[in-house]
Symmetry: C3
Subunit: 171 residues, 3 copies
């Protein structure tokens, strides 16, 4: 069982079982659990993914939508509350598309995660292990996501890489 005040960081590829693993970890703690969803449904494909994720969760869950103000959502919750943030890469995408100052937003978020107010489970995508993308925006996103993942990992007390649904302990 994680400390009352700690961050467990779950990183992995697409369909690697990150969210399911995070849900398994958090539901081993007493309910209620808060799910902070960062997804924004831009299109039908995304709406389906969101619905698929929600369908897996059941009773005991409270859901907050925080496509941009993740810091606000985290700090609004009572101390000790188990929280699942799913996921950082969508949150980052939303800020990039809104043309916000991504570096400043990441710094604010990491400062908040460095002082967790409960057992927080944070999910993110690893996107840097393929070929260099053709377009500059994808490269910028990949760089920003990689830097954010490093920063979050450095303040997390546990870091797990999911591979084919299985956790590989990194920290």
């Amino acid at each position: 069982m994680p400390d009352r005040q700690s961050v467990c960081f779950i990183i992995g590829g697409a369909r690697s079982g990150k969210s399911a693993h995070a849900e398994k970890l958090i539901t081993a703690l007493p309910a209620p659990w808060t799910y902070i969803a960062t997804a924004q449904a831009y299109d039908e494909e995304m709406r389906e993914r969101i619905a698929h994720h929600r369908a897996r969760r059941g009773e005991g869950w409270e859901t907050l939508d925080a496509p941009l103000d993740l810091v606000g959502a985290l700090t609004s919750l009572p101390s000790g509350r188990p929280v699942l943030v799913d996921c950082l890469t969508l949150w980052l995408t939303n800020h990039m598309l809104a043309e916000h100052d991504v570096e400043a937003e990441c710094a604010r978020l990491v400062a908040t995660l460095a002082k967790p107010r409960g057992p927080w489970f944070v999910v993110s995508n690893e996107v840097g292990l393929g070929i260099v993308p053709d377009n500059a925006l994808a490269r910028r996103f990949r760089d920003a996501a990689g830097r954010l993942n490093q920063q979050v990992a450095s303040v997390a007390s546990e870091v797990v890489l999911t591979v084919a649904g299985l956790p590989l302990k990194v920290k």
Copy 2:
């Protein structure tokens, strides 16, 4: 040495030494070994890859081609026979290109792998650790491959991730 009835799942990136590692594991068992090839030669590049893989294998091997009917090939073999399936992602590609019901095919395959009739070594690609692909078919493939890998890993008794030719134990 693996159990007589078990699945060892070897997952990795392109040119990560998956096939070579699987061949090293299976050839530590007594011959004959059955190689089930799922590749279909659509073009010259693919023909070269297939030839390269075959050239590495020598005596003691029997080869079956099963671009689509992998379940049929697996269940046709005598009990206790060491088998190498190379690889699941090509098999999945073939079913997607043939516009088959991929979910049903995966379910059938996983049910077969859940009751292995020999020491079976199954190779697959991890394709979900890059940037989100531009085209919808690639995204669909990535999702299907990730889900299949999770399902196979869940019924396997051993799971290995190959990195630069070296095995990293995941399960």
Copy 3:
């Protein structure tokens, strides 16, 4: 502390903290340290990346540029000198763009790394864990990089995969 004569191979994705981890390892040894840069500044984006990397290094460093003749640079250094090669994938890119015989160049490099003359820290990118790239050149590069990484890993005494800035021991 690594042996006086050994190769430590640090592999990872984009922005996974490969270079920072390698710098941390080498600077635990007594200065001076030699940094062999393989980057060639083709455009502004690349110039920025190079400047960012240089800014992180401070006193005690000597820098050699070796976009192509990495073997020459390595063998020119005094025995026992700690060396950081950053990185193999850029060196490979330069040879591919120059239309050199990549296989022969890789063989020469690996032969040199198999007889290290000091504690050598070698950084490379893992690029094979995404979806198959659309264009043939990217596929050729991915294959060549994967093969090179396997060869280097086989002669290295230590291999580390960096994930979100954290080292995962592979060998």
